[in-house]
Symmetry: C2
Subunit: 362 residues, 2 copies
């Protein structure tokens, strides 16, 4: 079951280490182990027995995860090694060759190419920048005339950072319900503010997330799935062929982080909003740039007007100035750069100044 | 892509917590976090930044992994979250619907049911207890007349603990080479002694392993794949859709463990050989039991002669006496119990005495 290169991940793998000014990272500036365990007064992690632990995730962790949602019990949660794996597991468990899936573009490549690799049909709906990166309701209605098994959404979205409008969301939930379709909602960028979760809104809604982005803890490789019990039960069968468990160390540290989530999220909000202010000011002052400033999440999609294509621009500005972006083409949308509001604000200022200077020279 | 219940894993999930005398665990008595980091004088793990880390595994860890093999460079290694995931990744990357696979029975269900779930044809060859759990060369020759894409072996084997004979192995390598077939070799039970690795013996050999069994560190969820560079490159493409990375914490702790592997393995060898002696003495004294005592690994397959079937026996002796076994039926072989030489020797003695007493009452 061959897959094409995962463009954004390949780009990160190939180039990230060369970055001096990383303006594209999706994870809020990561915590150290020391910073994390400073929450654990008794250093109770020292006594952990490194066996498989609780197979579908520690009960204490599931309880903390549930605090992020309005509804559900432990039976609605299974713990995974990151949100990417959570998505993979939902897709492999619920989809079969021939099923029809809806995804969005610009978007994260996993949502189209993983279903395609197992022989699904994928309908890609467009997000329109001129409409604040909103999709079109009429296009959704048209697509939903088909026998759609799953709609895959990503809110806040990577790379645009945008949430669907209330009007669009309402229509989506109504049409999905009529068709008995699943909605897989990647909510890995959710949590900084008060964004709703699809798993709280819809009987066949499956929400995935992790500690990697707004919790600054990608290094724990800890994610989860929240969904209907019968879906979680099916996923847990597949899980036995794939991961066994996430282990007591990651579970313990994840529960520790979530039990101190307000402190971690406060730090993340400050970093993100300071960077957003810098970007906003920059874009307002320099009309060759434009951005739909997102209300949530950690990323945005910076457009520019210049002759140079985005892949070339991203490669050259990295090589010549050490400024690192993922080009929009990795998400199926040219003349854009994915920007992460996650770095040290001084880095953001310097990197943007270098970007401007570079484009003005052209 | 539905999968049937994974019998042995389901059994462990359903019953393990009820065990008073766990005589079936495959992992040598697990280390604590404290025991592991006692190797790290400077507590350097405290300063780790919890970002994604090195995407295909930390270079320092790959170097330690290579010390377990005769051949290869860093390009032949990719790091995974356990051996199960390593196997899954090899199977999903290299196999497509319609491919023919050879596996063995009694054996680990992942090797048959994961290929079946993606539409492969699986030929199952038998391991013959009367022949020391060796498979039959003539049966292999017959099977290899087909267009075989991959042979999946598990050495030392779960549940028998046995390695293929040199004669069988030689024939297997020769026939695989003639057909240009891959050999996926799950070597998660390798390492206590000086067992060879298929990845060192065969140009299309792919070996998988982890720290879970002989290294007593299942809780790190850390495994790896060693194989030809072109296979590792393909797996790394799929990896981007599935795990991103194993993270700097698990990588660091795994490298720490492997840099002190002699101390860990010495402890494991002592635990396993003491338990083996107890089991051997027990079987020799009580002719209703028989076992092919393995030369390697951490498990063996205890046969018994009595009217009660193995699933019933395992359920009842757990309920009535707290003694925990996985029944042979979970591996496709009745009237056997999978035994792990991994527990406290006193537990082994007490558990076996209770098993004998229970069967004698019947």
């Amino acid at each position: 079951m061959r897959l094409p290169d995962f463009k954004v991940e390949q780009w990160m793998n190939d180039y990230e280490n060369e970055a001096v000014y990383n303006l594209t990272d999706t994870c809020v500036s990561p915590l150290t182990f020391q910073q994390l365990v400073s929450f654990d007064d008794g250093q109770s992690f020292m006594n952990l027995k490194l066996d498989y632990g609780e197979i579908t995730g520690a009960a204490v962790l599931k309880k903390q995860i549930l605090s992020l949602y309005e509804t559900g019990t432990e039976e609605n949660i299974t713990v995974m090694q990151g949100c990417l794996q959570a998505n993979e597991s939902v897709i492999y468990t619920l989809l079969s060759p021939g099923d029809t899936v809806i995804a969005y573009e610009p978007g994260y490549q996993q949502f189209t190419d993983l279903p395609l690799s197992i022989g699904c049909k994928v309908i890609t709906l467009k997000l329109y920048e001129e409409n604040g990166w909103q999709p079109d309701i009429a296009e959704l209605e048209e697509a939903m005339k088909q026998d759609v098994k799953m709609i895959i959404v990503n809110q806040p979205s990577n790379p645009t950072g945008v949430l669907f409008s209330e009007e669009y969301m309402e229509k989506l939930l109504q049409l999905a319900d009529e068709k008995n379709a699943y909605i897989l909602s990647d909510e890995v960028y959710r949590g900084l503010y008060d964004e709703p979760s699809v798993s709280d809104l819809y009987r066949r809604g499956i929400s995935t997330s992790s500690l990697s982005k707004v919790y600054s803890l990608a290094g724990l490789r800890l994610g989860w799935i929240k969904g209907p019990k019968e879906v979680i039960d099916l996923i847990n069968v597949r899980r036995d062929y794939s991961i066994i468990s996430t282990g007591p160390l990651a579970d313990h540290l994840a529960a520790l982080a979530l039990s101190h989530k307000e402190a971690i999220l406060k730090r993340s909000r400050e970093i993100v909003s300071e960077n957003q202010k810098i970007v906003e000011e920059f874009v307002n002052s320099h009309p060759i740039f434009h951005i739909v400033m997102p209300q949530a999440g950690t990323v945005g999609f910076l457009g520019y007007e210049a002759e140079i294509n985005d892949t070339m621009l991203a490669q050259q500005i990295l090589k010549e100035e050490g400024v690192f972006f993922v080009p929009g083409s990795c998400f199926g949308c040219e003349k854009h750069l994915r920007i992460g509001f996650t770095c040290d604000p001084e880095t953001m200022k310097t990197g943007l100044a270098k970007l401007l200077e570079y484009l003005e020279k052209k």
